[in-house]
Amino acid sequence: MNYFLGKDISGCGLVGVMDQSGRRFSGRDIITSIACMRERANGLGGGFAAYGIYPEFRIYWCFHMMFESKSAMVQTEEFLRDNYKLVKDEIIPTKEDKYVRYRPLLWRYFLQPKEEKMKLHYDLTEEDFVVKTVMEINTQIEGAFVASSGKNMGVFKGVGYPEDIGRFYRLEEYEAYIWTAHGRFPTNTVGWWGGAHPFGLLDWSVVHNGEVSSYGINRRFLLNYGYSCAFFTDTEVMTYLFDLLVRKHKLSFEIVADILAAPFWDGMERESPEKREILKALRITYGSALVNGPFSIIVANSESMIGLNDRIKLRPLMAATFENKLYIASEESAIREICPTPDKVWMPKAGEPVIGRLKKQNG
């Protein structure tokens, strides 16, 4: 896939909305919000992540697939059937839009790993097994790409302005308790559907604005932990870093923020001894996971949504709350567009995470 060559640089618009009580709401707002940051994008990519959209299938892994060809689809389904029980599969409903072109085949699958296959890979968790599947499809099946692979969530993305993409996917018809959106302004790769944000793996989704100067080492750091990056995108690296640090190393988001946007050595000197000890230990151990260079990201999974800035805040990030809702966006205007009277609006400091957590699992 020649698209996959080259690392993705982008300067973009982000927004994320979460109802921390778990109440689900339509995608209309998020489209409105991202639309008002149109000039941050250039029509070469837009996308959304939505959590809580498949309640009736919440126990199954849901793959959002993009196929460039029928044969790719056939190959993929064959491969999936080998390893999973296909509970359900269907085309992803869309609505023609004159601004959205060169669309691939968009299909979604609800899957359950086969017992006997899992037995073969007794050393893998179910998550690892899914990750393995995703890697294999993305790297080995020409023209096939897994846009998202979590449970009760999905990523909807493509080439075009985000609001157009949103309408194309008919997101106003979905209801989710977390929505994140991204308008892309790629500065070197031609826009391609798979390359748009959010990037998804398991129930992780990442929207990202920035260029990561430490990309080279972050990627090779992940290699040390068995992650091989296929897409050369910052987003991909971010996603894996979160997966490694949160899912595998069981570190809290606050700690992860202290790793990705590590405080300066002499800043640590001003902390309490206990805190200093921890910060030093983190930096000594995870120095290569420090994400250097300008970025602001919104990362989400089924329980939470996190906004984070680089260690010297070279990219914009705003946050606001209104009742149960948490808003994170590149621009305050994007928040006020859909939440005119927030309880609180603030600008997170460099490296200071904004964390939204689900209060009670929605029923």
Binding site: D8, I9, E211, N224, K275, I284, R311
Partner: protein, 511 residues
């Protein structure tokens, strides 16, 4: 045929207009090149004895002396060049192994000069190190695979964190440059002093080499890496405890697979007591450690040393970069080394057979690249730090080495040059006019530790500033974000296979 000695290498030109016959050169030259003639009240020079150290040239108050290369040429011959012929003549004369000093001077490709760095333009901002923090602080030592933190919810909303993972002992470097192993014996005590003091002042480390630790230098222990080599010279409890870290020396870039030999005349009273060998006897370091004939033996020594120092300090291993370097290092790391120093073919020495120095080993650039890649593929890169050594000449070489994957670098030759060395490669004669590679009290006192220390500090300071400038240019404000970050490197005029081994893209290719 008639006996003949090789043609002199240098020609000394003395400007009689300027020469005031003050005889400073006569007093200073340890090779007795210059002599004063009372009859004519004039000074004469015997070029044949000149090693080209330029000391007289430097110290002559009227600049009357110029050292030039001997223009006398053999018939041009690409194969049988002058050096080759001279060496043959020498050996025909002496029947012995040709010795030399310092690092390999053969024109092998210098990869540093075919690697260029990146800088930010538009898409992300570069950072001005004069206005914003720029971090070079580096930790050398084993890093845990992961950190565990226990979170206990206190009454107050803010949760309580407690570190559960023990961080193994580390060396903290203010700048990722250390002084490499140079033994007291190969260099003078004043030189050792200067290195130690400079290391302490800068916040980095110097390395005792295999010469033991002179009692006077114990005060610098917090900045000392003590070496344990095949000769085990001066190795005892206090010695091991004095070091901030311990380095097992297996090999050296200038003479892989070759032992060391400090001639008896250099083994003064001080040295004999420091090395714990009889005065005047040759100090012979065997080629191998005779208790290390395999990797598992090395493991035993590593843990013996860790036991001896109660796991309080990092224990590392130094090897020469050879063909199989990547697997070897992997083995060393798995054997428990907390850091591995790799010394490339251009690494220096006090004395080595010329033929070995010039034709054994591989360039450090390739060694770093393949070792770092191998360790990451095996998932053990975090288990040991890599210190690269072997002819690093400037801050650019340093930053490139780090971008290729080294945690820090050792500099030896550069440090010596800062102290006055002019690379005449005659260290093994023990007549170093600059007072560095000698034990002759007439010569050693020429190296004033105050001056030398300052010059070393200046050098490291200058390099650190340059590194910060280059980091800032790349939009990076912490050295660890460059370490192993080969995306910031591009190759110029390198073959595909070189690029592949170095793990870098050719210049012109984007992300």
């Amino acid at each position: 045929m008639a006996k003949r000695s090789p043609p002199t290498e240098f020609i000394i030109e003395r400007d009689d207009e300027k020469c005031i016959a003050c005889q400073v050169c006569v007093r200073m030259c340890s090779n007795d090149v210059h002599s004063y003639d009372t009859e004519t009240d004039a000074v004469f020079s015997d070029s044949a004895k000149c090693v080209g150290c330029h000391f007289c040239e430097t110290i002559c108050p009227t600049g009357a002396i110029t050292i030039g290369r001997n223009p006398s040429e053999f018939k041009l011959n690409a194969n049988w060049n002058a050096q080759v012929i001279k060496n043959i003549i020498k050996q025909a004369e002496t029947g012995g192994v040709l010795l030399t000093g310092m690092g390999c001077d053969r024109p092998y490709p210098i990869y540093w000069d075919h690697i260029v760095l990146n800088a930010s333009q538009v898409t992300n901002p570069s950072i001005d190190p004069l206005r914003e923090p720029m971090e070079l602080c580096t930790y050398i030592g084993r890093k845990p695979d992961k950190i565990e933190i226990q979170i206990t919810n206190s009454k107050s909303q803010i949760p309580n964190y407690r570190l559960q993972t023990l961080i193994p002992p580390q060396l903290k470097l203010e700048t990722p440059i250390l002084f490499s192993a140079m033994s007291y014996g190969s260099i003078s005590l004043n030189a050792c002093r200067s290195l130690a003091r400079a290391a302490a002042e800068i916040g980095t480390f110097y390395n005792t080499g295999e010469g033991g630790l002179h009692k006077e230098l114990y005060r610098y222990s917090p900045n000392t890496i003590v070496q344990v080599a095949s000769g085990r010279f001066g190795v005892h409890k206090e010695y091991l405890e004095a070091g901030a870290a311990i380095e097992i020396k297996i090999g050296q870039g200038a003479k892989p697979g070759i032992g060391g030999h400090l001639p008896g005349e250099k083994v003064s009273e001080e040295i004999s007591s420091t090395r714990m060998i009889p005065q005047g006897t040759d100090a012979l370091s065997p080629a191998p450690h005779h208790d290390i004939y395999s990797i598992e033996d090395l493991k035993q020594l590593i843990y013996a040393l860790k036991e001896a120092t109660r796991y309080k300090k990092p224990v590392g291993v130094k090897i020469a970069a050879v063909h199989n370097v990547a697997p070897i290092v992997s083995g060393i790391v798995r054997a428990g080394a907390d850091f591995v120093a790799i010394d490339g073919i251009r690494g220096g020495t006090g004395a080595a057979p010329t033929v070995v120095r010039d034709s054994v080993g591989i360039p450090i650039e390739l060694a770093i690249a393949v070792v770092d890649q191998r360790l990451r593929e095996e998932g053990i890169r975090n288990q040991a730090s890599i210190i690269a050594a072997g002819g690093l000449r400037n801050s650019a070489d340093v930053i490139k080495a780090i971008a290729l994957g080294a945690d820090a670098v050792y500099i030896g030759t550069a440090a010596l040059v800062a102290m006055g060395c002019s690379l005449c490669q005659s260290c093994y004669t023990g007549k170093c006019n600059w007072g560095i590679a000698t034990q002759d009290p007439y010569l050693t006192k020429r190296l004033n530790p105050d001056i030398a220390t300052q010059r070393l500090v200046n050098l490291l300071h200058a390099w650190s500033l340059e590194i910060k400038e280059m980091l800032g240019g790349m939009g990076i404000n912490a050295i660890e974000s460059l370490r192993g970050n080969r995306e910031q490197l591009r190759g110029v005029g390198l073959s595909d296979i070189d690029l592949k081994l170095l793990g870098i893209k050719p210049a012109g290719e984007a992300w």
